[in-house]
């Protein structure tokens, strides 16, 4: 496998983007990444693209926007793994360069929620769940049970179960979720591309928001953002040839493992997942990515992480699965301020997915934000400590897909 680095990053302002359409939004991120890399479109050999399938009301958007990103006469490959997709797009581009197939590849992932009246739900989530639901109705599911299921439906619902199970296991309290959410809003206020910005947000401010379903408050929930993220990946040979002026971020190791579908199983046949917060896929992904990156003690050898956490308990849960804290103890690290932007182990200094969630973009944005920290280009949300090794994580599917990407300022040994 060849050594691969990220040589350019581009993202759009995330939020409600009624000023542009999907193709324009994707092109904005791609062109910014190419400009940041200091290369020309003629240097790009292939594109890895992806978003949530069906969201934004266009099932196959790359066929329209590939012109807008300069992909004429070049390979365009799409990957779809639900919420994880951005992480998978980054890894697809990595495979393409590491394998020797291409020298310079652009990875781009995006979401445009505001085009849909109900963000994602109508065209997106229905076509994910409709077959299973139809089958359950056929087997006598009544409307009351369906509505009860809907009280905690879709990703937010599953995350609510997850939050409850994590609390039951770890002994943390809702206050800790308030602390994590407040940190996300504060960090986002420093990031010019973020969506939900709240300078000086305190946990007490989050605690005042409405309880949607105990233990999840309105203040814990991520927004439905529009936005796109893009990175340019290059092989070691290409870097010597292109001679980028700015620092690059090397990819040390990647891994992606699937777990079982955690909720109902295919056609309501059940699943063997007892605990929504067990996340075996994340544990396996982390283990493999660290092995490939030659990391034996992640807490000591990694400097910061961008974790895919649309809901605050997930930052705690995943930071344990990624090996940064012992099982059930991440909330103590939050109490001590270890995960703050200026803490000993910053997590999501960008504000993370809890403050900005353009779903497809979110997974790739984690990789991009880690690269920015390594390149020291994160501007106002640059962490004060030196970042040599960073970990980017993405999560999605029916809570079972995970990707882990390890980045560094130095190439793989």
């Amino acid at each position: 496998m060849r050594r691969v680095a990220i040589i350019g990053c581009g993202q759009t302002k995330h939020g409600r983007r009624t000023d542009i359409n999907q193709a324009e939004m994707v092109s904005e991120a791609v062109w910014r990444a190419i400009e940041d890399a200091g290369i020309g479109i003629e240097d790009v050999e292939a594109f890895a693209v992806g978003n949530m399938q069906g969201f934004g009301g266009i099932a196959h958007p790359e066929m329209i926007f590939s012109d807008y990103i300069g992909a004429f006469g070049k390979p365009v490959q799409r990957v779809a793994t639900g919420g994880t997709v951005g992480g998978s797009v980054a890894q697809l581009a990595y495979y393409q360069v590491a394998s020797g197939m291409f020298d310079v590849v652009v990875a781009v992932a995006w979401e445009k929620h505001s085009d849909s009246a109900e963000p994602g739900a109508t065209t997106g989530l229905l076509h994910v769940a409709f077959a299973n639901l139809s089958y359950m109705f056929k087997k006598g599911l009544d409307m009351r049970s369906f509505a009860i299921m809907g009280l905690a439906g879709a990703a937010a619902g599953i995350s609510a179960y997850q939050a409850a199970q994590y609390m039951a296991k770890s002994g943390c309290r809702i206050d800790h979720y308030d602390m994590v959410a407040a940190k996300a809003r504060r960090n986002a206020a420093k990031n010019k591309y973020a969506h939900l910005k709240w300078p000086d947000c305190r946990p007490e401010d989050i605690a005042k928001t409405e309880m949607l379903i105990w233990p999840m408050r309105f203040g814990h929930v991520c927004p439905a953002s529009d936005g796109a993220s893009a990175i340019v990946l290059a092989s070691e040979d290409a870097i010597q040839r292109l001679k980028p002026e700015k620092p690059v971020a090397w990819i040390l190791g990647v891994a992606a493992y699937a777990d079982e579908e955690a909720d109902q199983g295919e056609s309501y046949q059940g699943t063997g997942v007892l605990d929504y917060s067990a996340q075996i896929g994340c544990i396996l992904s982390a283990k493999k990515a660290y092995e490939r990156a030659k990391i034996s003690d992640p807490r000591k050898e990694v400097d910061m992480a961008e974790i895919y956490a649309p809901f605050p308990h997930q930052e705690l849960m995943f930071s344990e699965k990624l090996g940064f804290f012992d099982e059930g103890t991440a909330w103590k690290a939050v109490e001590e301020g270890i995960t703050e932007i200026d803490g000993d182990f910053p997590i999501c200094p960008s504000g993370g997915v809890n403050a900005t969630n353009a779903i497809g973009s979110s997974g790739l944005q984690r990789v991009l934000e880690c690269a920015l920290q390594i390149m020291k280009k994160a501007e106002n949300h640059q962490v004060p400590k030196d970042v040599e090794v960073a970990v980017a994580h993405a999560w999605g599917g029916q809570v079972q897909f995970n990707t882990v990407t390890v980045l560094s300022d130095k190439p793989k040994r």
Partner: protein, 173 residues
């Protein structure tokens, strides 16, 4: 350089609807028909994997962990343990919209009721089911609570026969 539209705050809008339309999905043969038949007799049916010993509820036709076909069916206990739970605030009109329909206004859910959703592990199984926790106040529910299945009074062999769980006798030491 990308297209820059500094002149416009709003791009041109076009409205449209996407009807998901009619599909003809094929469901696996599975054991779900037998599962709902058992519910009609106030029993819970699972399947036992001969490879790893996991018991799945609802009954699954293959084991995803050791990837082998499952042929042994077994009736599992009606008793179980609450692994975790959620509590809804008292429901009001306009709060619960499902596919654009107000669940309170349409009478599916009652105004003012607080619904407790439990993650239930029936004894001896390797699966969990999400079921309403009935006949108990939200303040009295706790993780690890012993629960028993509640069936509708006149079960007719459908998914809705299993309406939830309620507290069982709590053994205290």
């Amino acid at each position: 350089m990308a297209l820059i539209k500094e002149k416009f705050k709003e791009t041109k809008r076009v409205f449209g609807e996407w009807n998901v339309g009619a599909y003809r999905w094929k469901a696996p043969k599975g054991y779900l028909d037998e599962f709902i038949k058992a519910l009609g007799e106030k029993k819970i049916l699972g399947t036992l994997c001969s490879g790893c010993g996991r018991i799945y509820v609802p009954p699954r036709e293959f084991c995803s962990r050791c990837f082998r076909k499952i042929e042994t069916k077994t009736i599992v206990s009606n008793f179980g343990t609450l692994l975790a739970f959620l509590v809804s605030p008292p429901l009001t009109k306009g709060k619960v919209l499902i596919a654009g329909i107000d669940a309170v206004e349409s009478g599916w859910l009652k105004e003012g009721e607080e619904i407790i959703l439990g993650i239930v592990n029936f004894d001896g199984t390797s699966s969990k089911l999400v079921l309403p926790v009935l006949n108990v106040k939200p303040t009295d529910v706790f993780v690890g609570m012993r629960v028993r299945a509640v069936f509708s009074e006149e079960p007719k062999g459908s998914l809705s026969d299993l309406i939830g769980v309620e507290p069982a006798e709590q053994v205290k030491f």
